[in-house]
Symmetry: C2
Subunit: 366 residues, 2 copies
């Protein structure tokens, strides 16, 4: 029986981080090299930390090719806080509805919070089809009058990912990229706002990246609590109140890794595609032993959700994979089954090992 | 010239953590011993993490002698988020004003946010006296009709600390203990609510502990965004959305240290008193070379704010102390001067070393 290893951690998040990043983090717990103090004891008001935030902003701009019209913020509260802050800011007092797609578990959470703040229209819902596919363009009848369009680029639970950009250029696009941010290029400058919590591809839980164009805030209410006001955070360069210093630092290390070791998002995307193709091939060549949840055209490169022929086999799969050192393979509690998450930090060799295990398991149990 | 050391980190926060905790955190970055995975890659939905939250709740209850009528929550957003959540929950729609004390920089922030949500009465303000002292009981005319009383037990910037409990037993006490939580016993069961971010005495930035009695939520509005609703967090045992797993784990390690190595809050308080007395003695015996900001009766055991006879000497003090390996001694940007923060993680020997340095510096420059 193997012990679990970080290398074989297929968790849906918080998930695997690159080994070289973990080594640097371990060092930083004792002392950040250029400071000499533990990362846990450095003031967020220090010059060093201001430089960390600046470098991280710059790295994200570089990775995405974003210009200075975009603010780059590091906030607390996860995507969940954004589910509320966005309609509080962009929808309160509006007459026409914002448009939301209901493509899975998480977009359902987003639209439930939006409804509290103003009118919304559900442009399309996959609920009756058990969130097994995404809509085609023909199914999406966008209105030019919507204050904004909101969608989730990758549904983490169901393993559905848009392989194209949605919406109209004359309506602000707001996209939750929590589970595929910085996993591939994304034409970020065509979005009015992108947000992503860190704990999938870019760091630990506790910090959320928000990119937004200054112009979408022009009608924003200015009477909100400071911590819910994007203006407060912009003005303070993400240090409005004590930020999650540690989490932000780890995200910086991951962006350095993306830039210097991976060589940018095209390379990252190529590697992520290889990983996903390998695993989906394992599903497709299993004679329906491994059954993918998502329609083939909408398969996620990040989360491969699948079932086995019976609950008993699923249970045995979890036990034996765990004994073999794999972890995080249980599906989300809302749908059960299996899920292998292939975030940036997970290596191709780990996916090869999983594919090998799956082939053996099928041979023994198929 | 010495390098800075964690041992001599007098930062106002994030601040020094116990050396044994840092060692365990370093190990956990590679692998949490009982799990085998990096703390940064463990799912917040795992049984292990549910047990972490439970043990941490229990440890805090044990340390404070709190019964099960109190919920113990771990939230994001810092004290700043509580500045808003509290009046959103307890003040909206109320006719009579909540009572706030304005005793320093941070209580000013709290009352500014409360004003947005409902009527408040400033019971006492130290602003005209430059926040150099705290009020006596005779200066506080509490109303029995207030929805609650809010105050800050320790003003981090000015170094003022209440050495008694305020308020009436028939009005809910709400206390921000961000900078002295778990530094001493506090008769917690006489408060309706206590909150404290972690980054002073109990952990890294990114998590805030909230203790509250169930009964104060009986009239709470139930139409708030989920992440601002205490009920959501109570129901979900602090895992309403992805919590800051790492920060919560570090706080658990600090509470274990408090229980098992320090031996509880009486011992912690005795040690903190020794540290503070030593440093204040250095001030008092300096022939007015080191000038404490706070009135003697209201001196904080956590933050010793002081000035030197001139800005030039203060600059030199910072430079030479830094060269000697000390760090974090610059005062808060709002008032300048010096500040030595003596949180739980800082040792008596570190304070002795600082007192020695201060005596030498005075001899050379006095």
């Amino acid at each position: 029986m193997h012990k679990p290893s970080n290398r074989l951690n297929f968790s849906g998040g918080p998930g695997a981080l690159p080994e070289t990043v973990l080594q640097q983090v371990q060092q930083a717990i004792a002392a950040v090299p250029e400071v000499g103090l533990s990362i846990l004891g450095i003031s967020h008001r220090s010059d060093w930390f201001a430089a960390v935030v600046q470098e991280l902003e710059d790295n994200i701009r570089t990775l995405l090719g974003l210009n200075k019209e975009y603010h780059v913020l590091f906030l607390q509260g996860g995507a969940t806080q954004q589910f509320s802050m966005i309609p509080m800011t962009l929808l309160r007092g509006k007459k026409t509805p914002a448009e939301y797609l209901h493509t899975g578990y998480w977009s359902g959470k987003a639209l439930a919070e939006a409804k509290r703040e103003g009118p919304i229209r559900v442009l399309w819902s996959g609920e009756s089809e058990n969130f097994s596919r995404l809509p085609s363009d023909a199914e999406l009848d966008y209105s030019p009058d919507a204050p904004y369009l909101h969608y989730i680029s990758n549904e983490t639970v169901e393993g559905l990912q848009f392989q194209r950009m949605l919406g109209r250029d004359d309506v602000p696009r707001v996209c939750d990229m929590s589970s595929d941010f910085l996993s591939r290029p994304c034409a970020a400058d065509r979005y009015a706002m992108i947000y992503a919590h860190a704990q999938k591809n870019i760091g630990p839980a506790g910090v959320t990246v928000v990119l937004l164009r200054d112009e979408i805030l022009k009608d924003a209410p200015d009477d909100m609590p400071g911590f819910l006001n994007y203006h407060s955070h912009i003005k303070a360069h993400s240090i409005y109140n004590t930020p999650p210093v540690f989490s932000i630092y780890v995200v910086l290390l991951v962006t350095r890794w993306l830039l210097n070791e991976v060589g940018g998002l095209n390379n990252m995307a190529a590697l992520n595609t290889q990983k996903a193709e390998l695993l989906y091939r394992t599903l497709d060549q299993s004679d329906n032993f491994y059954r993918g949840h998502a329609a083939v055209a909408d398969r996620s490169q990040m989360n491969v959700s699948f079932n086995l022929p019976s609950k008993e086999l699923e249970q045995r799969f979890l036990q034996e994979s765990s004994a073999a050192g794999f972890s995080g393979l249980a599906g989300h509690r809302s749908i059960g089954g299996m899920r292998a998450s292939l975030y940036n930090g997970l290596t191709l060799s780990a996916v090869k090992e999983l594919a090998g295990f799956m082939a053996e398991f099928k041979k023994a149990n198929g």
